[in-house]
């Protein structure tokens, strides 16, 4: 294919989209289904013609930004169609249509081409029987055990519960069509509300009895489903933007105090369920410090509440995930990539947008997608802000209903959430996977590119970024202040004189409270033990076998819990145990005295947090070269001798690191803890008690919850120190 022959330029595809969208906008007010269908056909056919005339569809695959845009627009168009949104959002969808069509056509063509290539490539035909036989021959009994048990666990405790949830999602009232629950979710006003009323205001101004003026920012309600989507989108975009900004400055510039900045920027990563949202709520209440500032400056107070509050809390809690990913992406860009651009005359913003950002993008979006998933499933912020108009809150509250039965509609909602999360996750994963080999680097020296900051930069760093970073660390600072009673549980003040370790001590002295801590510790220890065993089996099988479909499937299954919202696991487990263990102590519907929540919780934990352990163990196995093992096998050692006697001791630090990280994520787990755990309160873990405290439904106050938060921070600090100082490994916070 030479350049001269391609008369079709790639921009033609945008023209096609633009024209189709324009037609739609012109006809918008009179359009009927038939005309609209025609427009869709036009878009598709146009793309097809361009495809036939040889437009360079490969561009979509190889261009960083285009492939990303295509994935995002896929999701966008899908939702526009499902939610039947009209007007300008739909025009945008039509704009993307030709591009998407082209992507699909190109994908199919490439698939066919590679299929033909491989067909041609395989000269020797080996029958399936022989292939299976040689594969089986290579597996010795212990590998067999690993693979079968690993798969069985993942299928029984992950796939089946999720499928059960799906099954119940199709449970409909008599006389209704099978998709009734989904239909309701996409069509009821409570879920999707696209018309705005005069009362739907982003903020309102309120005057209190004392005559104070307060701006109350609440956000606009678009219905549960759209709220969740919009919230997740806003949080993801803002967090991504912030994360990139902070990461870039810290990665590329050197200025006094940078180390302090780096440490401060890590603080929000310490997970303190509920507390962070609570502190933010206080910070942005009419009596909070922000209001005090605005009051003196402008004469009015401010309160951020409801949806806006949830978004704010989530942005602050989740932006470091993007920051960390972006930071390591920036650090890992081959410096010669940027130097070459500089050498050719590029600098500043141009250099950043043409070279640096596109190269870092895969790493960045890997962080962004996690923020998206975490935002979707987050319960802490919605519960603290009492914002029930979100998917996560809805599912959660179905567990607390009087009947003890989770409604099928919630199962359907859970499925929608699962779909959103896993689709996004898998799309980004394949995008990142496609790009990760993109760094071609041979030889050359690796000097980090660092610049001194000029005075303008310094002003920016100290006046904008420092406050921002300190601000995002507020929740963690606030929880300490709360726990030691320096900050009162409501209103806002700093009373150093009232500082007391009393609440912290009470954690251990009051048996009613200590039981939660004991629960968390026992569950986390047992669950981590289980997870480690499963992780070893799976990681070993994945790293040592190269079976065609089986190995990658196992790999994906072991990673996917990262993308499965905890609430989906909770729903799935609810159905799973109430179906297969009906009437036994494992049946969640047995009531708060008979149900043995602890067993269910432990299993749920070990599956949910499995990816963290697997990743570390897997990294360990990759350190041990297969040839070493083969040498030992060759000398007559049995596979089990090799694994348990040689390999495992060798990678012990990896296993322990994985276990520690797993322990941290388990002890801070929220979703299943407060749903499944909530069904048997006396067996519930710490996070459940913390939630109850913030809801104000306990005899003890918020300070106790804050003290628990401090305890969790302490765990995490110790974990970070052990892993980085003793094991000399990276503390894997979070990543795809």
């Amino acid at each position: 294919m030479t350049h001269e022959q391609t008369t079709v330029k790639f921009r033609d595809i945008y023209i096609a989209g633009f024209v189709t969208a324009l037609l739609y906008i012109l006809l918008m007010d009179y359009i009927d289904p038939v005309t609209e269908a025609l427009l869709w056909v036009i878009g598709i056919v146009w793309a097809f013609i361009l495809f036939k005339r040889g437009i360079d569809y490969r561009k979509i695959m190889y261009s960083f930004s285009l492939s990303f845009l295509t994935i995002i627009s896929f999701i966008y168009v899908f939702f526009i169609l499902v939610l039947r949104l009209t007007g300008y959002p739909r025009a945008v969808a039509l704009f993307f249509l030709p591009l998407l069509t082209l992507a699909v056509l190109g994908h199919i063509k490439e698939k066919i081409l590679t299929y033909r290539e491989t067909r041609k490539g395989i000269k020797v035909k080996v029958s399936l029987y022989k292939r299976v036989k040689t594969t089986l021959y290579k597996l010795d009994p212990i590998m067999w055990v690993f693979i079968v048990v690993g798969f069985a666990i993942l299928i029984v405790f992950l796939i089946i519960p999720v499928l059960l949830m799906l099954y119940h999602a199709f449970e409909v009232p008599p006389g209704q069509p099978i998709w009734y629950n989904f239909w309701r979710i996409f069509n009821t006003r409570g879920y999707v509300k696209t018309t705005l009323y005069p009362t739907d205001r982003f903020y309102i101004i309120e005057q209190t009895a004392t005559g104070r003026i307060i701006y109350i920012i609440k956000g606009i309600n678009f219905g549960i489903l759209l709220n969740s989507l919009i919230n997740a989108a806003v949080v993801t975009i803002t967090a991504t933007f912030l994360g990139i900004l902070v990461a870039f400055v810290l990665a590329r510039y050197n200025f006094p105090g940078r180390t302090v900045f780096r440490i401060l920027a890590m603080i929000p990563l310490f997970i303190t369920p509920f507390v962070n949202a609570y502190v933010i709520k206080i910070l942005f209440s009419e009596n909070g410090p922000i209001s005090i500032i605005t009051e003196t400056l402008f004469g009015w107070g401010i309160r951020i509440d409801s949806l806006a509050g949830v978004a704010l809390a989530q942005i602050m809690a989740f932006y470091p995930i993007v920051y960390l990913n972006a930071y390591s992406s920036f650090i890992n860009i081959d410096p010669s990539m940027e130097e070459q651009a500089e050498n050719l005359g590029s600098k500043g913003a141009k250099l950043f947008f043409t070279v640096t950002l596109p190269l870092a993008l895969p790493g960045i979006v890997a962080g962004s997608i996690l923020v998206f998933i975490f935002s979707l499933e987050d319960l802490g912020a919605p519960i603290v802000f009492q914002e029930s108009r979100l998917m996560s809150y809805q599912i959660y509250s179905s567990f607390t209903s009087e009947t003890g039965i989770v409604s099928p509609e919630m199962a359907a909602l859970g499925f929608v959430m699962l779909f959103l999360a896993t689709m996004g996750f898998l799309a980004i994963r394949s995008y990142v996977g496609m790009r990760s080999y993109a760094m071609i680097s041979r030889g050359g020296r690796w000097t980090l590119r660092e610049h001194r900051l000029g005075w303008k930069g310094k002003l920016f760093v100290y006046l904008v970024m420092l406050p921002l970073i300190i601000f995002t660390a507020m929740p963690q600072i606030g929880v300490v202040l709360l726990a030691f009673n320096i900050m009162p549980p409501s209103g806002f003040a700093i009373n150093l004189d009232k500082a007391t370790p009393q609440y912290f001590l009470e954690l251990f002295q009051n048996p009613d409270i200590f039981v939660y801590i004991r629960n968390t510790l026992t569950y986390a220890l047992i669950a981590v033990g289980l997870a480690t065993i499963i992780a070893i089996m799976i990681a070993y099988s994945v790293s040592r076998t190269k079976m065609r479909i089986l190995t990658p499937t196992m790999d994906t299954l072991a990673t996917i819990p990262l993308a499965i919202p905890g609430l989906v696991i909770a729903l799935g487990y609810f159905y799973f145990y109430s179906t297969f263990f009906r009437g036994t102590p494992l049946d969640p519907t047995m009531g708060p005295t008979a149900f043995q929540a602890w067993i269910v919780l432990i299993i749920a934990y070990s599956i949910r947090k499995l990816p963290f352990v697997v990743r570390s163990v897997y990294a360990g196995f990759q350190q041990v070269h297969e040839a070493l093992e083969e040498a030992a096998l060759n000398l007559g050692a049995s596979r089990s001798r090799v694994i348990f006697g040689v390999v495992l001791p060798f990678i012990l630090t990896y296993i322990l690191s994985g276990a520690i990280v797993g322990f941290i994520y388990i002890s801070t787990e929220v979703s299943t803890s407060i749903t499944i755990g909530g069904l048997r309160p006396d067996q519930a873990p710490m996070t459940f008690a913390m939630m109850m405290a913030y809801k104000g439904t306990t005899t003890y106050g918020v300070q106790i919850a804050a003290a628990m938060g401090v305890l969790l921070i302490l765990f995490q600090l110790i974990a970070v120190m052990i892993i980085t100082l003793v094991f000399k490994q990276r503390y894997a916070f979070i990543g795809v």
Partner: protein
């Protein structure tokens, strides 16, 4: 066209002196090579010229303009990195057009003119038709050409090449070095070329500078540095040589007489300096030996030895000749049939024996 001059350029990394008072001048339109073993400071020197590093001491001039502290994006040099540094997210076309697009306003270029110039550059490196490929779809040699085109298209004042061929296989390397030489002569761009391959350096350069441990030891045309090394390191690094230590006895006209204990004889040769110390060394290239005729003059360097080892190399024959207490490397024409154990008398012509102070730097 631009002259490049370095004056006492010194760069220190921690405790390593990567460039130690480097001084040289590159004529405009010249292909100048920095040659030296790994870690000797070639890349550092090149990066200082490109502006990525600022020297601790010394100055860099382009023509008479002091550019020591000029930012890299203002220098209008074009560098080809050892790893090519092709941007994987851009097509070949976009990679090559990048430099022009960045300077589009400054140069007043239209997209059409850019297209023309990119086409010109791609034709120059024989890559027409691959505009829409991405770097990952190219072979190593093709990637190398793209990097070259990207550098040439901006018509830089100075072209900087950092081991551009080190990632290619042997055959391609020879092909590409010819091409680079041809292109450079055709375009007349002042070029500074970095390599650790002495054959590559000699075949391609107008002048070569040999570096070791941050120091520039000698520079001059390939023939000169090859035949008149002023230093044992240079003699040893360029080509192959027999290096023998001895004692300077005195002059025989213009030739220095050196007592070589290992050969147990006196050797005459040309000296690189008039005031030789007592401890000297001689450098004898293996290809300068010729077979001795029946009655050689007593003033010739005649050596008698026994053939120890014979290696047929195709274009020549390499033998080890045991002379007294040492073995000499000797090349013979491939028309001869030497055999081990055979006695041989050879002459090392006086004009081709170099006498040097016995120092390595």
């Amino acid at each position: 066209m631009t002259r490049v001059r370095l004056e006492n350029v010194t760069k220190i990394y921690g405790s390593v002196v990567a460039a130690d008072h480097i001084t040289f001048e590159v004529e405009s339109g010249e292909l100048f090579t920095l040659l030296g073993p790994s870690g000797c400071g070639k890349t550092t020197t090149l990066r200082i010229i490109a502006g990525f590093e600022v020297p601790e001491e010394g100055k860099v001039y382009f023509d008479d303009e002091d550019v020591t502290f000029l930012k890299p994006y203002l220098r209008n040099t074009a560098m080809v990195f050892q790893n090519y540094a092709l941007w994987p997210h851009m097509t070949v076309y976009d990679n090559v057009a990048y430099g022009l697009r960045i300077k589009r306003k400054q140069l007043g270029l239209t997209e059409e003119e850019i297209r023309k110039r990119v086409k010109w550059a791609l034709e120059l490196v024989k890559l027409e038709g691959l505009e829409n490929r991405y770097p990952l779809q190219l072979s190593g040699g093709q990637q190398q050409r793209v990097a070259l085109a990207r550098a040439l298209v901006v018509q830089p004042r100075v072209l900087l090449l950092d081991e551009p061929l080190s990632n290619l296989d042997a055959k391609l390397r020879i092909e590409m070095r010819e091409e680079i030489k041809r292109l450079q002569k055709k375009l007349g761009i002042t070029t500074i070329y970095v390599t650790h391959d002495q054959l590559e350096a000699m075949s391609i350069s107008d002048r070569i500078a040999i570096m070791n441990k941050g120091k520039l030891l000698q520079y001059g045309p390939p023939r000169e540095v090859y035949f008149r090394p002023n230093n044992l390191f240079v003699a040893d690094f360029l080509g192959r040589s027999n290096i023998l230590y001895g004692e300077f006895l005195g002059w025989d006209g213009e030739y220095a007489i050196v007592r070589i204990p290992e050969l147990d004889m006196d050797i005459r040769g040309v000296a690189t300096t008039k005031d030789l110390p007592r401890k000297v060394a001689i450098v004898v290239r293996p290809e300068i030996f010729r077979l001795a005729e029946q009655q050689p003059s007593p003033k010739e360097n005649v050596m008698k030895g026994v053939i120890d080892l014979v290696m047929f190399l195709g274009d020549r024959i390499e033998i080890r000749l045991s002379v007294s207490k040492t073995d000499l490397i000797v090349y013979l024409p491939n028309t001869l049939y030497p055999t081990p154990g055979q006695e041989l008398r050879i002459i090392a012509p006086k004009d081709n024996v170099i006498v040097l102070p016995a120092k390595w730097e």
